[in-house]
């Protein structure tokens, strides 16, 4: 072991922790509010990263797929509204049929014209290279946000319908795993299983402080992640929405009595968690420039460990935990080698779960319920 | 000694510094039907939970049929002859009626041979027969494949009593048995409890419905803020100044909203 590397390795650990932070916070947010381990988080993270890559590399099919996904979700939401609306049944039927017809026509148009490449051609001509960056960020955020709504509908809403019973708590877990499979395989069958690489606009921009190298995009992402998470926790503390969220987290049964519309707030939680994943994914693409269909699993499993370390349901705990776990990973590679990496990370997690299941800063109440 | 199925002395329990049970002591006579009443939050259910071992006691002793059960683990207390029903029905929602009752037999079937006896494969086995008979005695039909989650509330309440009874207790603890029942269901339950009592089992009942208490019980203990403030017959309870104060002095809206205050119950009574 070469001690002169230590400062650089510490920085490496912090930067890696920065990758895990937002994913860990996304996990902890949903687990804290809804007591549910959301397995779509890895998929959403990966999807955002891959969409960002696809748009940077000018894969028109990304836009086609996005358009189809967004359309389907919107159609579903309109259908929901329609069902709840006070309208005479014939109008509802006609409306539903019209919706289906409209969706089919749009689907057909998208599949036959494939507008993606044309959009890229126009974009590159009109805006230049920066246009793709902007488009990539917008598309990744929007798609993931919209998909979060879809996922909320098929996980939490069904859990709520059956709340209070042992078996049904596994329901959102199973549904979220179903989504994980769908999203991962959509990416694999569209872009394959290989590494997908692009160029970062920052190149390898970096600066050195003494013996330690800081990479500009990495540093920026770390600062950005921390700023976003900080903003989030301020939002949770001060705004009306934040108070509503906390009241759901603390007392899911009585929150409705206090005037909190759980049905309207929960989708917000999902969208926030989704946007965190998406931001993490976008930053990942910018930083590492190499993505594939499996990065979600790799990053998210370690992020889960970080979340547990910090204590379930605690945003600041997730930050500290994720940074720590990044450090543990880097230090174990540095000191004993990558072969042994799994043992310290997962051994630590196991130990914490058994000895101090609340993690460093967690509440005792969270996650104790049965499935 | 032999007269009392249960005697409690100097019971104390605090949760996080809050005294929930403060020096409570009373005795339940063999064959009696004792009611434990008091305003909301008086600690009645906590007494039940201490008795059945859900929580450990801080101080005090509990003697069941001559045996000190204070330190006996919860899972073993049922063997010594104490069984209970719950405030909110806690039947096993995914088990059938008969299976729920068979759970009540568990205390008497803890040998390995009993544990590995294939109840489900032998439809006519003695355990299932006993459970079915107990249900029929209670006037409950059983339907194959009917999980209890979908049964009416009153039926579930009675199944709870049957489940508790089949463990052959000496003392049956009933936590608000009449809560949430309509008139007819309350009558059916009362009839069942009369029958249980007639068979020699002692009843200890936590109940808000004073009408029900008057009809069923012969002895009353009143708790307020974790302390016993009264013990006597149901007829005396309305006249006790401390009891009146405890109920009327508490939030009147609460007394009005629930059919809880003994005063209201007494007014109803003939």
């Amino acid at each position: 072991m070469d001690l002169s590397q230590l400062p650089q390795q510490i920085v490496n650990g912090l930067m890696l922790g920065g990758v895990y932070v937002m994913v860990a916070v996304a996990f902890t947010l949903i687990i804290g509010m809804l007591n549910f381990l959301n397995f779509t988080v890895p998929a959403l993270f990966m999807l955002a990263a891959v969409l960002m890559w696809a748009i940077l590399e000018g894969h028109g099919i990304a836009l086609d797929l996005t358009a189809i996904a967004v359309l389907l979700v919107l159609a579903m939401m309109v259908a929901d509204r329609l069902q709840q609306a006070r309208l005479p049944p014939p109008v509802k039927t006609v409306g539903a049929l019209g919706l289906v017809a409209g969706a089919c026509v749009f689907l057909w148009l998208t599949l036959s014209f494939r507008p993606g490449p044309a959009v890229f051609a126009w974009l590159d001509g009109a805006v230049g290279a920066g246009g793709r960056w902007f488009l990539g960020i917008v598309v990744a955020l929007a798609t993931v946000a919209v998909l979060s709504l879809l996922i909320e509908r098929f996980t939490y809403r069904y859990m709520k319908a059956k709340y209070g019973d042992a078996t049904e708590h596994a329901l959102p877990l199973v549904s979220s795993l179903g989504f994980l499979i769908v999203i991962e395989h959509t990416v694999i069958s569209t872009w394959g299983s290989d590494a997908l690489t692009t160029e970062s606009p920052f190149g390898n921009a970096s600066f050195e402080v003494g013996p330690v190298l800081f990479s500009v995009p990495q540093l920026l992402s770390l600062i950005l992640s921390l700023a976003i998470v900080f903003g989030l926790s301020v939002m949770l503390k001060t705004t009306k929405l934040g108070r509503a969220l906390r009241s759901i987290a603390e007392r899911p049964d009585t929150a409705p009595l206090m005037g909190v519309e759980v049905g309207r707030i929960v989708p917000v939680v999902y969208v926030i968690a989704g946007l965190l994943c998406a931001t993490a994914g976008i930053l990942f693409t910018i930083n590492y420039t190499t993505v594939d269909a499996y990065i979600g699993d790799t990053v998210a499993t370690v992020a889960i460990a970080g979340m547990v370390l910090g204590g379930l349901g605690n945003v600041w705990g997730a930050i500290v935990g994720a940074m720590l776990i990044g450090m543990v990973e880097v230090m174990s590679i540095y000191m004993v080698g990558a072969t042994f990496k799994k043992i310290p990370i997962w051994g630590l997690l196991l130990l914490i779960l058994i000895v101090r299941p609340t993690g460093l800063f967690g509440h005792t109440a969270i996650g104790k319920g049965k499935f | 000694m032999a007269d009392n199925v249960l005697s409690i002395e100097g019971l104390h329990k605090s949760f996080g510094g809050l005294k929930v049970i403060d020096d409570v002591g009373f005795a339940v006579k063999r064959g009696s039907r004792t009611a434990l009443i008091g305003p909301n939050g008086a600690g009645k259910t906590t007494v039940f939970n201490l008795l059945t071992g859900v929580y450990p006691v801080d101080e005090g002793t509990m003697v069941l049929d001559g045996r000190d059960i204070t330190r006996v683990p919860a899972k073993d207390r049922v063997i010594f002859g104490m069984s209970r029903s719950f405030q909110n029905i806690r039947l096993m929602p995914h088990l059938s009626t008969v299976e729920n009752v068979m759970l009540g037999q568990h205390a008497r079937a803890r040998r390995l041979g009993d544990l590995l006896y294939p109840l489900g494969l032998m439809p006519g086995n003695r355990w299932a027969r006993a459970a079915k008979e107990a249900l029929e005695d209670a006037g409950l039909e059983t339907y194959p494949g009917q999980v209890v989650a979908n049964l009416p509330y009153g039926v579930q309440k009675r199944i709870e009593v049957v489940r508790a009874m089949i463990s052959q207790p000496k003392l049956l603890l009933l936590d608000e048995p009449a809560a949430g029942l309509n008139q007819v269901e309350a009558q059916q339950l009362l009839a069942l409890l009369e029958k249980v009592s007639a068979s020699g089992v002692t009843l200890l009942v936590v109940e808000h419905d004073m009408h029900f208490v008057h009809n069923l019980c012969d002895h009353v203990a009143v708790l307020n803020f974790g302390k016993k403030i009264f013990e006597g017959t149901p007829a005396q309870v309305n006249d006790d100044p401390l009891v009146r104060e405890a109920y009327l002095g508490s939030d009147t809206s609460m007394a009005g909203q629930q059919n809880a205050a003994p005063a209201a119950g007494a007014a109803d009574a003939p």
Binding site: S189, A195, T197, S215, Y288, T290, Y294, T298 | -
Partner: protein, 397 residues
């Protein structure tokens, strides 16, 4: 209940469709192709399918094998060893196949070999290069070159061309059998044997790792001519990019694991100066160029954009022609009554065959591993440039 009926119906559909798969008809010769068309190897296995299709189309256009048409029975294993066993049993028992091209990965091959040995049917993987996989099986023939031999060829070429390689560091995948073997048991001894000083003990990384900064930091400040990189393409690209990010500008050197045409794009300018080897060179001769042309075109038709064939694609293409040659030498008929005996004749034929394909000259050792040529390449301006050519060794019999 209706759900169970649905399940039952689905089961029946599956069973019916499986039972309905036509066994070999008379006058046709069936070759199985075990491909990982979905799952983790899908990107690379899809082009293998194209290569096989080209070979079969060419053979059929030229009159088939011994006057019989060739049909390929394909099975998608999704990269799952269990499904690779399904594939070989299906080819052997249901499809009446005479031989199998595939399975793709070493994980699949090592379980499929055991099943193929019991079914007595030849399997020719085109990409499995984990050491000592086929020795115990008489029906296993791997059309891949020994990683150690290839790496020695890389070092020899560098020396012949007078390129300086005095010191090196090794980075290897710890959880992938080929990567680990190449890193620890091939690169290390070969470097030492050739007088290359190892600046550090080999540094490991996990194949699925997304961040290798901690490993690359350990390279910093070392005076190294080359970094020996033993890892499959995706993680090799990650390591390379991380090296450049941290300012380690040393070129990488490797054997065959990441010799994928895609690296011209994936590594792009970061791959400048990388040295590696492959057993196929698409500009070798007119036949190779012709195959390359058809291959690129065939892929384009399926919406896949490839610059030129991967050497495993060339292996799949040659494997079909190799089977043709052996079948012709052994006068195989594909007659369903004689399938069992003809499969064994194909095996015996493969043991002695000497074949010339787009790869070059091919023969098989007793271990079931092929002797293939080696082409040592370097990357220049995101293009592959040939540094040296090594003819395949003769097989000891």
């Amino acid at each position: 209940m209706s759900m169970r009926k649905t399940l039952l119906a689905a089961g029946l559909v599956a069973a019916g469709a499986a039972a309905g798969t036509p066994a070999a008809a008379k006058n046709e010769i069936v070759i199985g192709a075990s491909l990982g068309l979905t799952g983790i190897y899908s990107t690379i296995a899809k082009t293998t399918e194209v290569a096989i299709d080209i070979a079969v189309a060419e053979i059929n256009a030229a009159g088939g094998i011994n006057g019989r048409k060739v049909r390929v029975a394909k099975f998608d294993t999704a990269g799952d060893p269990k499904q690779a066993v399904v594939a070989v049993r299906k080819f052997a028992r249901d499809d009446g196949a005479l031989a199998v091209v595939g399975p793709f990965s070493s994980s699949e091959a090592r379980v499929a070999f055991a099943a193929g040995e019991r079914a007595k049917i030849v399997q020719i993987p085109n990409a499995s290069s984990a050491p000592k996989l086929a020795d115990k099986f008489s029906y296993a023939f791997r059309m891949t070159e020994n990683e150690g031999l290839q790496f020695q060829r890389v070092i020899s070429t560098l020396k012949n061309r007078g390129m300086s390689i005095k010191s090196a560091a090794i980075m290897y995948g710890t959880d992938d059998v080929v990567s680990k073997a190449v890193g620890l048991f091939i690169m290390k001894p070969i470097f030492e044997k050739n007088g290359v000083k190892l600046a550090k003990a080999p540094i490991g990384f996990e194949t699925k790792a997304v961040d290798v900064s901690a490993q690359v930091t350990q390279l910093k400040g070392q005076k190294i001519d080359y970094v020996g990189l033993a890892g499959i393409t995706p993680v090799a690209v990650r390591v390379l990019k991380e090296m450049r990010r941290q300012g380690v500008m040393t070129p990488i050197i490797g054997a065959q694991i990441w010799a994928d045409p895609e690296i011209t794009r994936q590594m792009a300018k970061d791959g400048e100066g990388a040295v590696f080897s492959a057993w196929f060179w698409y500009k070798k001769d007119e036949r190779s160029r012709e195959f390359t042309r058809k291959f690129v075109e065939g892929n384009k038709k399926r919406g896949i954009d490839k610059p030129f064939p991967h050497h495993v694609d060339a292996s799949a293409y040659d494997a079909v022609y190799l089977l043709k040659q052996v079948m012709e030498e052994q006068k195989v008929t594909g007659d369903p009554d004689k399938v069992a005996e003809e499969r064994t004749r194909i095996r015996d034929g493969l043991n002695t065959v000497v074949f010339n394909g787009v790869i070059g000259q091919i023969c098989f050792e007793k271990t079931g591993d092929a002797q293939l040529p080696g082409y040592v390449m370097t990357m220049k301006n995101s293009e592959w440039v040939l540094l040296g050519e090594h003819k395949s060794l003769p097989c000891k019999k």
